[in-house]
Symmetry: C2
Subunit: 897 residues, 2 copies
């Protein structure tokens, strides 16, 4: 670390940073600087840069000397600006110490307030403010936070209470105080002594009285908190690299807990759950910020502040407008009122539900705050899915009647078994059942349980409580502050009025309306889907209007075509409703499982001779032809890709004796032969076995039948005036000669069908690129292939040598160790699989510049993967119907970026 480099940045009267310096200062630090710059009332302080985080860890938990020097200088400047000294016995300067990563990670890392208090300065504070109760309450809070975060005095396990809280509760109980602020100075002093005893008992160390030691300890704890379990889990879920590190913000304290003329609050410039353009938030009088977020007391809605503190409220409304017009995005900000003076402690782009993200972006464009391009670019592509998930059936809701209401904090419909702890929710989820986490409030320890739940319900806390915040970001259905619910962890029950629910009982929550129901309610398609399938008038749905506008913009910007993976006319039509422009993948094998077809398929597989096989295939031919006619008709002339038989034959034959007997009766093939054939088809590694084009090469009559079905369907459609654009796709090609073999068959059959029918038609032949070798040989493969589609699932399996079906045994470990930052079957491994794709694209285009290239694995509906597809110049992505909107939005974002 060069001595000359700057690692500490001031804000306040003198400000070094600005909003653009997120990477260095973290989001919080950069925005504190920016707010200072635009004249908002920010208490002064300084930010220790993110780069120091890794150094701190590398040096075994010490700050480099150069950082120490800069920090001391910045601290002196704050003292000078405020005319108070850190550690001063008379009028001590206190600090908050907060983490702040590049991307906001709410509640994931640690914060310490009121730092600088000790047995002496607390008296100074008491005298300077003339408010001893406030001073000792602050000291009490500080010891509690410091004891927890820095000295690591925690609850024994998740069923025990926090030991500091226990002492506090005990004291409140014997003082008959309902709220913290009803405790007297004397009572607080007693609590403080008990806290210090607790720390001594638990750690063998005394609570530090040296304020500089306190500050160093707090800074260290923040840096360490970057690598705590919660933070790691969070980063994993959101794909944040551990290399980024956190900054540390040290800021002069202001106090919302100095009496009834003080307050603290959190607000959003718009509703982060629904996206509605209303001033939104909540506050507590005589409290510190953490009280709001932790959900310990249920705060008041922000509108009430107009009555409680009219002047401050007016200032806040002005702040809201200034923030939106300056940052041009919905802001989530924290404020404190100290003796009627407003201070801004933080602002950031507010986390929002998918629902809200779409609505806010579209409405901000309408309001002229941002342009279409920005609107499209800003929405996390997955968000749009939340407009498509089922909602509760209105009639059923009416009949069931809500038993309670809460604040809608995550829209959507969720049903599941009541779970009163995160562990129970994980357990229920692990059994494959639906869990619904019900807590008085949630805390960062509950993250895993929240992930495992369909929805989250709390009886306390507001829309900025931990539960609401996290649920918002996870896209979970959520209701908070349903205060009518009485949750009793001891008896594992929940009561509302005279209704008692046990753990394991089913309930339903409507996170859009904030309503709670007994039992599991039936669902209906989302509004958007109702409009798309014609059961609702589009003009009646605000959501649909928003959706349609956004999709329109996406179609304007995107360069990638978006196709659907569809194995039936129903799926094809679903794809078209979502705006699919063609079919990128029809898996013909899926058709062989329906009804009696599987019998003919089995007959074919069990055939001893080509003649027998052809006889069985002759029975499948008309059925498969009907399939294709159905799909072609649904697509009405759009690009339709049909992939030939792909899976190993083993998947089609019966493995249990009763079905084998049954098949023997049906086909008159001796049971012994069926058994022997099934055994012969068994493979050590079926994924790498006799499948894909290897089948069509071994049994050319199968490919001939499939080609005939395609072309006879083409002829049928053309005769009936239906336009057809068929693309025949050969799977699992690794060698040019494999493709040539199959294409020869296809061409030969096409010629025959054309001759028989006296009808000319066009078609295209191509292949999947799903074998590493095929990617490397794409140059020669493109000599024959008119199009290629990456089968990114199989390509990932082979390139990584990882069987998706068997990955379960080590995936968890790999995620824990951050060997995988994301599941490579969900999001393309750009460095490995992606490079093979890049090589293939280059080589294929060199041979055939006009070649059509696409992707039809499940990655086709994954935002990051779609963006990669755009980057390497593919023609299309193809995905399941309900991922089409996500793919379109991702494609548009890629084009914009």
């Amino acid at each position: 670390m060069a001595d000359g480099e700057k690692y500490v940045y001031e804000f306040g009267a003198h400000t070094d940073g600005n909003a653009k310096m997120r990477e260095l200062l973290g989001g919080k630090g950069a925005n504190l600087a920016e707010m200072s710059r635009i004249g908002l009332p920010v208490p002064p302080g300084f930010t220790i840069a993110t780069a120091v985080c890794a150094k701190f860890t590398a040096e075994g938990g010490k700050l480099p000397a150069s950082v120490e020097r800069q920090r001391n200088a910045a601290l002196a400047n704050v003292e000078k600006q405020l005319g108070r000294k850190f550690g001063d016995r008379k009028n001590p300067l206190l600090f908050s110490v907060r983490s702040g990563a590049r991307d906001s990670m709410p509640g994931m890392m640690d914060t310490i307030l009121n730092l600088g208090l000790n047995d002496e300065t607390v008296n100074g504070l008491s005298e300077a403010t003339g408010n001893p109760r406030f001073a000792f309450d602050s000291y009490r809070r500080f010891i509690q936070m410091y004891g927890d975060v820095v000295m690591e005095v925690h609850a024994k396990d998740e069923h025990s209470a926090d030991p500091f809280e226990e002492i506090l509760m005990e004291a409140k109980k014997s003082a008959k105080a309902k709220f913290d602020n009803q405790l007297t100075e004397k009572q607080l002093r007693e609590i403080i002594e008990k806290y210090k005893d607790l720390i001594r008992r638990e750690t063998g160390n005394t609570f530090p009285q040296d304020v500089h030691q306190q500050l160093l300890g707090a800074i260290g704890a923040v840096f360490r908190s970057w690598n705590n379990q919660r933070a790691i889990l969070y980063r994993r879920k959101y794909g944040i690299p551990s290399e980024w590190g956190t900054a540390v913000n040290v800021q002069a304290m202001v106090f919302g807990n100095m009496g009834p003329d003080s307050a603290t609050g959190v607000a959003f410039t718009r509703d982060p759950a629904s996206g509605e353009n209303v001033f939104y938030g909540e506050y507590l009088i005589d409290a510190q910020g953490e009280d709001v977020v932790a959900g310990i007391r249920t705060p008041n809605p922000i509108a009430h502040l107009a009555k409680d503190m009219p002047k401050v409220y007016g200032e806040l409304v002005a702040v809201r407008e200034k923030l939106e017009s300056h940052f041009r995005d919905m802001q989530d900000f924290e404020f404190t009122v100290q003796q009627n003076k407003l201070y801004m402690l933080q602002t950031r782009n507010g986390k929002r539900t998918g629902f809200a993200a779409v609505r806010i972006a579209v409405e901000m464009e309408h309001d002229g705050l941002i342009d279409k391009r920005t609107a499209v670019g800003r929405i996390a592509a997955d968000s749009i899915s939340s407009l498509l998930v089922p909602i509760f059936d209105g009639d059923a809701k009416k009949k069931a009647k809500a038993i309670a209401r809460g604040l809608p904090a995550g829209p959507g419909a969720a049903s599941g078994k009541i779970c009163f702890s995160a562990a129970r929710a994980e357990e229920v989820h692990g059994r494959g059942e639906r869990a619904l986490l019900c807590r008085a409030e949630t805390s960062p320890e509950d993250i895993r349980g929240m992930l495992a739940s369909e929805g989250i319900l709390t009886s306390r806390g507001g829309v900025s409580s931990h539960a609401a915040l996290v649920a918002r970001q996870m896209g979970k259905v959520c209701i908070v502050g349903a205060s009518a619910l009485e949750i009793d962890y001891g008896s594992r029950t929940m009561r509302v009025g005279d209704i008692t629910m046990k753990e394991g009982d089913e309930i339903s929550i409507d996170g859009t309306a904030g309503e709670i129901y007994l039992g599991s309610l039936p669902t209906v398609p989302s509004e958007v889907n109702q409009v798309l399938n014609g059961t609702m008038d589009g003009k009646k749905s605000q959501t649909y209007g928003t959706y349609a506008k956004l999709m329109g913009w996406c179609d304007e910007f995107r360069k990638l075509k978006v196709y659907v993976n569809a194995d039936s006319p129903t799926q094809a039509l679903a794809g078209l409703r979502y705006g699919g422009e063609g079919i990128g993948l029809t898996r013909t094998e899926h058709m062989f499982f329906e009804g009696t077809r599987i019998d003919h398929m089995r007959e074919m597989i069990l055939a001893d001779s080509v003649a027998d096989r052809e006889a069985a295939l002759a029975k499948l031919l008309p059925m498969q032809r009907e399939d294709f006619i159905g799909i072609f008709t649904a697509m009405g002339g759009k690009h339709t890709t049909i992939r030939f038989l792909d899976p190993p034959l083993h998947e089609f034959v019966p493995h249990d004796e009763p079905t084998q007997r049954d098949l023997s009766k049906k086909t008159a093939i001796p049971l012994e032969r069926i058994r022997a054939r099934v055994e012969a088809l068994r493979e050590f590694n079926p994924m790498l076995g006799h499948r894909g084009c290897r089948l069509g090469i071994s049994y050319p009559e199968v490919s001939r039948m499939q080609a005939r079905a395609v072309f006879e369907a083409v002829v049928h459609c053309k005769k009936n005036g239906i336009a057809v654009h068929p693309y025949v796709m050969i799977p699992l090609v690794g060698f040019l000669k494999e493709l040539r073999n199959q294409v020869d068959i296809v061409n030969e059959v096409a010629k025959a069908v054309s001759g028989e029918s006296g009808m000319e038609f066009t078609y295209h032949v191509g292949t999947m690129l799903e074998v590493p070798r095929a990617c490397l040989r794409a140059g020669e493969i493109a000599e024959i292939a008119e199009f290629c589609s990456f089968g990114s699932n199989d390509l990932t399996q082979t390139t990584l040598a990882i069987s998706r079906d068997d990955m379960g045994s080590f995936l968890g470990r790999y995620m824990d160790l951050e060997i995988f930052t994301q599941n490579p079957f969900a999001t393309l491994d750009v460095d490995g699989v992606g490079e093979l794709m890049t090589i293939a694209v280059e080589r294929a285009k060199k041979t055939r510049p006009t070649i059509t290239l696409g992707i039809c694995g499940e990655h086709g509906g994954d935002p990051a993967s779609v963006k990669f597809a755009h980057t390497i110049g593919l023609t299309y992505v193809s995905c399941s119907p309900n991922r089409i909107p996500v793919a379109k939005l991702s494609a548009a974002q890629a084009a914009i970026a």
Copy 2:
């Protein structure tokens, strides 16, 4: 085909071509030209270039007009030179028409002799030669060949006789003639009429009387024969591309069948079976060349010609010397003596056994004919294996006593079941048993059966018969012309004296000595191996001397190091005996199967907790340490690579109930839990499952135990004054972080062991490159890996998406269709797998220029793959002990090329 291009090349008085033009003229055509140039007596003729072959096929079996014009001109020149006319009634010019590819494919394609005879010209020939019997015998032969080759009148199946032969036999029988040349003109005329009837009956066409039609038919048949089944099989075995095509040689006929002053023969400048420097060959008086090769009459050894035709023999000895000094390689040549005048019909580099190849090259260097470089470059690298295969035990041979002798045509020892047909040999081989093909003679139809046999034994034919020729090239043990054997196909028996052997009985043949034994004789190591393991004095073995000299040269030239794959001290020592310079792969898992270890291994796998697992591992530690001490001691300071546990755990647990019960008793683990765990370990695609470094990452205690065993062994050896150079290799790495995880463990354990023992030691850490992703990311992997070894087997499986264990179901089909020209698990797929390797080498060297790179899959002992390893700049190849000499020779050849 541009009209200006030259497609027909003359030889004789005027010669267009030379020996260097093999690609265009084929081997035969080029050498006919060359022999003409150096003044050997070659009958004139012309060669139609190989390039015409593909054109002929493409144009549906027609010669382009430009070729036709050039052919007519060349034919006219031959007529002018010899003063005779093609089709002339008085003194007709006759031609032979022969194929001739770039590489010799003996007996694989068709040949027609005596072309130009018809019902009229036969009389002209009769008058011109004054030898009607000769003329009609020639006509008879021509019709037979033409009927077979061009008009496709064949035997109905492999058990029927050839229909022409049947007529001939019948005639000989009724004429009481033992040999063809005892038939009278009249008898021959009758046979000719019967032949013509046969053709008419079988084909509906008459035998063509127009000589030009005859010539066109013959040329077409030769071109077509390039794609017959035998030729395709042959090309597949020897990796000859089908694109090469064959040339057609049209040459004026000379006659070895003009009476007792005429002869035909085949000779080698050295013994092609043993390599000995003696004039070698055989001839028949009054016969045509095909009679010798086909093995119909057993010819006389060439030395007898000194008595039969002393002048001609003297000329031949001169020719032998001229050929060797001109071509500087052992020549295989055909000659014909027509009325005491010698004609040369062909010369080529003689095919030879591996044994002979090595001896000839080494001796030619000694004689100053070639230099070391040429000697090394000339030996097919696999040849050297034939010096290493077991031979029959001398004592056992003495006791068993030979029941018959024949000509040694393929050295080595073979035992197996008597099979009288190729089909039977294939069947026996298919059952996994050893077949020994016993035939009166073999023909090209027998190739598959010869491939399937351990050895080949014929009762007729000489060392230039089909059987000898093909066996030589296949490296099969072979004895020909064991005339004491009477084979009766009808009764499926073989008699010698009063011993009768049935099909299926076991016999043994010593192809080095030419001796046949009853039963299956025991074998002992080859002479080379006896010398290497100290049971024979090297000075007593000519073979060992040759081997040692050649290996010495290889060590001089090669750049690649050659290591051994060894899992035990025994294998390590075997590797060292063959000159292995280190161990490239020790599979530590193989050690876990021995004795009681498997129980501890199973205990480890079944453990419920880390503590239980560590307890089981603690039992394995001392055993594994002993393994490593043994190996290090054997290697005495040489490079020793130890790979950590690789296979899925499933491979170690028992799958049958009795063994599970047994294990339950031994370990006191309930049967139910064993069953459940075995079930849980089952994988869909174990090759892509929980194995390799994934195990060491999931169970770090396993890697810790292995690292500890390695380093404690290192310490033990060092304390005992044994030098050690350990290389720890992590398998199946795909991600840098995987390697880092395991290397951290290794380093940590090394430090601990060093601390405990108070001993410093060095070691290296590296990885396998066997996952496509790892090849692509080799640049970053090399940041940590000090060495990388390509696991070419797994890399082939993943790059091609082909499971080697499951490939059987389509490999045959793929070989038939030439999708594979070779099994990619035997010879590296250079275009696919090879490119990934090339990329990896480039990237790894960029990061770490001094990195050690190798290959330790089975390809490490395959000549083509070793050469590729040299080309891309690897440091070493590692293979099983007995492949080391092959690898060394291949490496030297690569360095020379």
